[in-house]
Symmetry: C2
Subunit: 261 residues, 2 copies
């Protein structure tokens, strides 16, 4: 970024006469206002069954049966980048919270798990709405598939990412550095086991491809409703793969009413 | 970045006549060449005892007695950003590998733990030399200190960061999502327990402030030598806090010869 600011800063003022740049939006990118910025470029994009935000598991691993594919950008398709990766069972993905880009940031957020009314500090949360909208997820590496068009593709499970999310980095999970069995999870631990009982009529479930059923049920059990809404009469619609799942929730039971395609 | 490219792309050609921009260096920042880039700005900087790269533990937690301070940038000193953070024992830091910025990237790296001669894929390693030079470390949160000038400062242990490293994000460690007791660590696990026996004469050790001694010994035991050099006659010098530690290594024993200040 330093290069850009060195060259363009003197040009900025005269050209703003012709180009009405919104300085507040530019400030978000810190091109002209701060040093030490770092620009990330996507190395890959992920393919998941979540076309919308609603219904994405709240953390990686909440729906361990879900599979996803990580497809590298053409520049990064050299199979050497993945040498020895299959020795690791888990990987970290550092990715773009692409639906959470905002011009402003807020010091506190309201985690859905706390009912949506309690505020915690943004750095005490994994909320996507943060000063730098980057996400961190631990996923399981199932295998590496070599394909003719896309090159080596990583087949993953447990990913909590929107379909098409840009990924900036992949790192191996190192048990001796990353696994902290004595860690305490603050307010987040109190609700980690909250889940719904899912009633999914067999006739409806059979409309979903076999290999996607377990993952879908895990997502529904994780309670996709925002902020613990409690409106038994409300019919929710959740996009999943090529389907729309219609359901209601009452007394801790989620009932699937329909599966549309 | 989309805003920038929209406005400046048509200007780029005429101005390159006057400003001899190095297109290859610009390409690294992807301003003009790729969509979907994301620019990060530092939210904080870390203060550690490592003024140089040599001697920094190879992973977070290798030297658990080391303490570090995370000082927020003025814009991020609102104490609300940290509300409830003290309920978490561990935090993730996402930071800039500021000494590893390069114009080019390489598909493979040579981890020091493998002797420096074996190549593994860059995405199968935690090497700082990667397409997007961002690091990920798990640290222990000891406490939050409120200071008059710097505002709330996080006191951390186990950090493997160079002094002054820009930090882009802090996230709480969530045991139910991040702790994977069954994870396998590939080639990295084979060497995780490698360490040296440290002989540190008491008279020399007493030159180091009491609270820094255990951390320094842990760093030395972690074998700071690059790529398993085995030159018993060589005297190494490692910067640590305000000191330079002189030592030799032979047959798995590190002998401290002098402590300069």
């Amino acid at each position: 970024m330093r290069i850009i600011s060195t060259f363009f800063t003197p040009l900025f003022r005269p050209f703003s006469l012709f180009y009405p740049l919104d300085k507040r939006r530019l400030a978000r990118y810190n091109i002209f206002t701060m040093k030490n910025t770092l620009t990330l470029r996507p190395i890959a994009h992920i393919k998941t069954d979540f076309k919308e935000k609603f219904g994405i598991p709240r953390q990686s691993g909440r729906a361990p049966s879900l599979t996803a594919e990580l497809v590298f950008e053409p520049e990064f398709r050299n199979p050497d980048t993945l040498r020895e990766i299959e020795g690791f069972s888990h990987l970290w993905l550092i990715f773009d919270f692409s639906l959470a880009h905002r011009d402003e940031w807020c010091a506190t957020v309201r985690p859905p798990r706390l009912g949506g009314n309690t505020r915690v500090g943004v750095f005490a949360s994994r909320s996507p709405f943060r000063p730098n909208p980057i996400g961190l997820s631990c996923v399981r590496l199932l295998r590496v598939e070599k394909r003719e068009k896309e090159g080596c593709v990583l087949i993953l499970s447990g990913a909590d990412l929107l379909d098409g999310t840009p990924v900036y980095d992949i790192k191996p999970y190192l048990p001796f550095a990353d696994c902290q069995p004595d860690a305490t999870g603050g307010y987040a631990s109190a609700h980690e086991r909250d889940c719904l009982t899912v009633h999914f009529p067999q006739a409806l479930l059979e409309r979903i491809p076999m290999e996607k059923r377990a993952g879908l049920i895990e997502c529904l059990a994780d309670d996709p409703r925002p902020s613990y809404q409690d409106e038994p009469a409300r019919i929710y619609g959740m996009a999943f793969a090529d389907f729309e799942i219609k359901f209601t929730v009452e007394n801790g039971i989620l009932r699937v009413l329909d599966v549309l395609s």
